[in-house]
C-alpha cells in the first residue's frame, strides 16, 4: 500500500508528518512525501501521478477545516476516490466536522503513531 503524506497551506511544522512517515515505512508501507507548502491541487495531482492508495494532510496552523473543504472539492473534481485523512493540531471537536466534510479519519493532537498504523491495517 502506498500513502501520500502532504503539507497543504503555508504551515511549515513538519516534525509530526515526518515522524509518521518513518512509522509507516517501518510498518511496511510505501510513503511519498510532498514537502512543504503545497496547494490542494498540487497534492491531488501528486496522488494521481504516484498512484497512491491514500492521502494524509498534516496541518498545524488551524486551517484544517478550510483546507479539508477544498480537498473535498478537488477530489470530487478529479473523480479521485481514495481515502484521505487529516492530522496535526486538530481539536477533538473538529474531528467530527472533518469527517463530515469527507475525511475518512481525523487524528487529533497526541495521536500515537501505532494508532495511525493500526487504522491503516484495518482499512
Amino acid at each position: 500500500m502506498k500513502v501520500l503524506l502532504s503539507k497543504p497551506g503555508l504551515d511549515g511544522h513538519d516534525v509530526g508528518v515526518k515522524v509518521l512517515a518513518h512509522g509507516l515505512i517501518e510498518a511496511g508501507y510505501e510513503v511519498v512525501y510532498t514537502g512543504l507548502r503545497k496547494t490542494i491541487d498540487e497534492i491531488v495531482q501528486m496522488a494521481i501521478e504516484n498512484k497512491v492508495d491514500a492521502i494524509g494532510l498534516s496541518i498545524l496552523s488551524g486551517t484544517h477545516l478550510f483546507l479539508a473543504q477544498k480537498m473535498k472539492e478537488v477530489m470530487d473534481a478529479n473523480k479521485l476516490n481514495i481515502p484521505w485523512f487529516v492530522g496535526g493540531n486538530v481539536p477533538p471537536l473538529d474531528v467530527e466536522k472533518l469527517e463530515a466534510i469527507g475525511a475518512s479519519k481525523a487524528f487529533p493532537t497526541s495521536t500515537k503513531v501505532v494508532d495511525v498504523v493500526n487504522y491503516f491495517k484495518e482499512m
Partner: protein, 541 residues
Amino acid sequence: MNTKNKSKITAEDLGVKKVYLESGIEVNPIYTAEDVENSNSKHEMPGEYPFTRGIHNTMYRKRPFTIRQYAGFASPEETNERFQFLIANGQSGLNVAFDLPTQCGLDSDDPRAMGEVGRVGMTVDTLDDFEIAFKNIDLDKITVSLTINGSAIIAIAMYIAMAEKAGYDISKLRGTAQNDILKEFIGRGTWIFPVDKSVKLVIDTIEYCAKHVPKYSPVSVCGYHIRESGANPIQEMAYAFCIAKAYTDGALSRGIDIDDFASRLSFNFDIYGNLFEQIAKFRGGRRLWAKIIREEYLAKNDDSCWLRMIAGGGGGGLTKEQPENNIVRSAYYALISALSGTQTMALCSYDEAYTIPTEHSAEISLRTMQIMIHEMGICDTVDPLGGSYYVESLTDTFETAIKEEMKTVDKWGGIVNAVATGKIQESVSKQAYTREMGMQTGKVDKVGVNIFTREEESKPVEFHPYNQEAADKQVEKLKRIKESRNNELVKQKLATIRKDAKEDKNLMPSIIEAVKEYATVGEIVQVMKDVYGEFKEPIFF
C-alpha cells in the same frame, strides 16, 4: 573524555546501571575533584573571558533577566491596541508575530493566502500596516522585536522607513529582528529563496544596519527551532554556532569589523529535558562561542565574545496529558534558564500543547518567573553552580562535543551546503522519530504520558475562529492602496530592486525606497523570486 582514568568512579565500580544523557554522554554516579583536575574552570570568573560563568560579573544581582512573553494579533489595528495596553502596563519591549502569508512573502489577496490571513499573527501588505500598528508608540522608548525570517529584509526595511517618515533619527533606532533564515530550512519552514540567496539577504540587512542603523540588532540565531525539530542539545548549539558563523563570515566579507557585528548578535535557545545537561550545554556553549569569536575571528572587545541569549521553556517538553504538570515542568525550565545565566527568559504556557493560552495560564508563566526572582534567591549570587564537580566536568564535555559536532557540519560542506542538500534535516528528523517512539513505547519516561498515567476527560480546546471579515477588510484596503498610490513610481522602484538584485547589490536601500511608495510585500518578493529563483526543498525524512 578519559574514562580509563582509574580515579574516576564509574557505574561498574558501584554496580549500578549506566546512565546516558539525551546527547549520548555517559554520566558517572559520582564526580570528584579528579574529574575537573585538568579543567580550566577553576580559574574562570563571571564577566571575564571566556565567560563560561556568565557574561557579566554582577549578573542578576544588578538586574534580573528580562521577561519577554510572545504574543500575536491579527490586524494592525488590534496589534496597535495591544501594544498601547502593554506599554501602559509598564512593558518596555514589544514582540511582533506575523501571519504566514506575510512570513512567506504573499499578499493578503494571493490565492495561496486564503484562510491564512491574520491567523497566526499580524498581516502586513504595505508600509501602511506598519504605520497603523505603531501609531502613537514612542520608538525611542520601546524596543520592537520582529519575529520574521523569509521576508525579514522587507519587514526591517518597513520598520526603518516608518521610523524615518515619522521623523526619528535612524542612527539611534533600536530593535531586533529574528531574521535567521538558515534555521528555517531545518525547522519551521518559512523559506522563500534558495539557501545562498537567502543568506545573502541576511547579510544585506547586517551590512545596512551596521552602516546606517548601528543600534539595531538585525539577527537572532535560533537553536530553539532546531532542537524542537528533533536535534539533541549538542546539535542545537553546534548548528546554531555554524549558522552564526555563516552570518559572521558574510558580514566580514562586506568589510564590517568583527567587533561591530559580533556585539549586536544574539541567540535564542530551547530548554527541556535533563536539567544538568541543559545547564552544561549553555555554560560549555558560552565558553566555546567566546573562544570562536576571539581565536578565530580575532575580536578585540570582550563584549563581542558574549553569548547573549534568550533561553526559554520549550513546547517540546510539555504534554497534553495531565497539563497541570506543565506548570511544574516550566518552573524547572525557568530554574535551568536562570542557573545557566540567561539574559532573557520566556516560558510556554501550560495549556499551549492543546489550546490557545488563556490570560490565566499566561499569568501563571509570568508568576513562575517572578516567584523565582523574588522568593528563591536566584539573583543573589552569580553562577551558583560554578565549581560543582559534575557541572564543571559536564561543561567541559559539552564544549568539546559541540566543537566536534561543528566539524561534522564542515564535513558536510559547511552549513549552507548541509542545509541545501537536506543533510541536517535528515539527521534531525530521524532523531525526532527515535525520540517520539521512545516516548510512545515507554523507553523514555514521560510522566502522565507513559508512566503515572490516568484516564482523563478530553479537554475543551479553543482555536480563535478565523476572522473572514477582517481578512476581507485587509484585502479591500490593499485594493484601495494599490489604486491610490503612485503606481508609476512603484513600478520604477520595483525595477530598481530588480536591477540591484541582478547586479548582486545590497537590496536594503532599494527595498526601503519601494516600501515608502507602498509597494507590497508580495510585489517585492515576486521581483526577487524572478531574479533569485525559489528554494527547492530536498525531500528527506
